[in-house]
């Protein structure tokens, strides 16, 4: 058969069109399939638990005037017990959600030559500040760390790939990395079956007891703090935290960085 350039180009053009439309049809068919599978589960809905505590912006006020070493240790113990935080002997592997430290470490930029005696040696609990403008959320490449509508900065451990950008970004050192398997070496004593553990290679931190708020309970640390820790809605002018802030002078950690922490300290 005689083939000239003209007939060849015609034939090639029609072929390309034909093949192209085939894949288009394929695409349409699979889209139908996706739509119908979505419909099959459309009758199922999700909602919040009926007794869940809700707020526009959760926050905490820590009254250092009511604190002492015993309360601080109790707070740390109950938090780490509730959330299956492993205890590693090696300092480098330490995991902390809430822990006690001193004024000079909590407020390094507020060092005074003549600091009031009471604050010099007072143990002060520090935890994730659940910033309104959280740097950890901005740097997370997988959105494993994210900010909930109620202001809680939460970890989705399923998504964490352990890159530790968030640890570099957090100005408060609130995050810990699981260098060791938390389930190994009996690092978790009396495991709380209500809460999962983590696995090796993920970052963890305080979650403002999101799992307790969901069932209508206050955070575990607040419950054992004998009034030193108060938890509530910062956006509600009638909440307990706002009342405390109205009547007392409060400071926050590294405020000049612009992260806008949700944890206030009364000194």
């Amino acid at each position: 058969m005689e083939k000239n350039r003209r007939s060849f180009l015609k034939f090639a053009g029609v072929s390309v069109l034909g093949l192209g439309s085939l894949s288009l049809l394929d695409g349409l068919a699979s889209e139908d399939a996706i739509a119908s599978s979505g419909q099959a589960s459309a009758d199922a809905t999700y909602k919040k638990t009926a007794n869940a505590l809700t707020a526009k912006r959760w926050g905490m006020v820590i009254d250092t005037r009511k604190l002492n070493g015993r309360i601080c240790r109790k707070i740390e113990k109950v938090c780490h017990q509730t959330h299956n935080v492993p205890h590693h002997e090696e300092k480098k592997h330490e995991i902390k959600w809430i822990w006690e430290t001193h004024y000079k470490h909590v407020f390094p930029e507020k060092q005074d030559e003549f600091l009031v005696d009471r604050l010099k040696e007072l143990p002060i609990p520090v935890l994730c500040n659940h910033c309104e403008n959280p740097p950890c959320v901005q740097v997370c490449p997988t959105q494993a760390t994210f900010q909930r509508a109620d202001g809680i900065v939460l970890m989705d451990f399923h998504r964490c790939i352990g890159c530790r950008f968030c640890m570099a970004a957090c100005p408060y050192g609130s995050r810990s990395f699981n260098f060791r398997d938390p389930r190994a070496d009996n690092a978790i004593k009396n495991e709380n079956k209500e809460f999962p553990t983590r696995m090796k290679g993920v970052v963890e931190k305080c979650n403002f007891c999101a799992e307790r708020l969901a069932v209508g309970k206050q955070p575990a640390c607040v419950e054992v703090s004998k009034g030193a820790l108060v938890f509530g809605d910062l956006s509600d002018p009638n909440s307990g935290v706002r009342k405390l802030l109205k009547e007392n002078y409060a400071i926050r950690r590294k405020q000049n960085l612009g992260t806008n922490p949700s944890v206030y300290y009364l000194v």
Partner: protein, 127 residues
């Protein structure tokens, strides 16, 4: 075709080696395992969704539970007027408390390795 013999022998050897996995494993395939129901699961008769859906799409369901619970704080899954806590460790494992006979059996057979249990707890099983 002077090397006809050599070529044919070569072809026979090639096909023998190529099909080795098929005839080596012939007849060795075990039948698909049947997940074992606990007495409590049998009594309930009905899972969150019907058995067919659960068999095919429990992974998508669990993914949905996981994402809505963690990311949207919506922990209740409502379907057909019934409410369930969207929780693997409590809701699923309450009836299907036999992880080895219910989950692991099929997962091993199909050679999938979900990492749920690296973090989530499951009930201790009686041996």
């Amino acid at each position: 075709m002077n090397d006809k013999q050599k070529i044919i022998i070569g072809l026979i050897i090639f096909f023998a080696v190529f099909t080795f996995p098929f005839w080596y494993n012939h007849g060795a395939a075990s039948s698909a395992p049947e997940p074992l129901l606990t007495d409590k699961a049998k009594e309930a008769k009905h899972c969150v969704r019907d058995a067919d859906f659960m068999r095919k799409e429990h992974m998508q369901l669990l993914d949905g539970w996981r994402d809505r619970t963690v990311r949207d704080a919506q922990r209740v899954y409502e379907i057909d007027g019934k409410e369930y806590m969207a929780s693997l460790s409590s809701t699923c494992m309450e009836c299907h408390s036999n992880k080895a006979d219910f989950c692991d059996k099929c997962h091993e057979y199909t050679s999938v390795d979900p990492y749920c249990w690296d973090c989530h707890t499951y009930p201790k099983e009686k041996k």
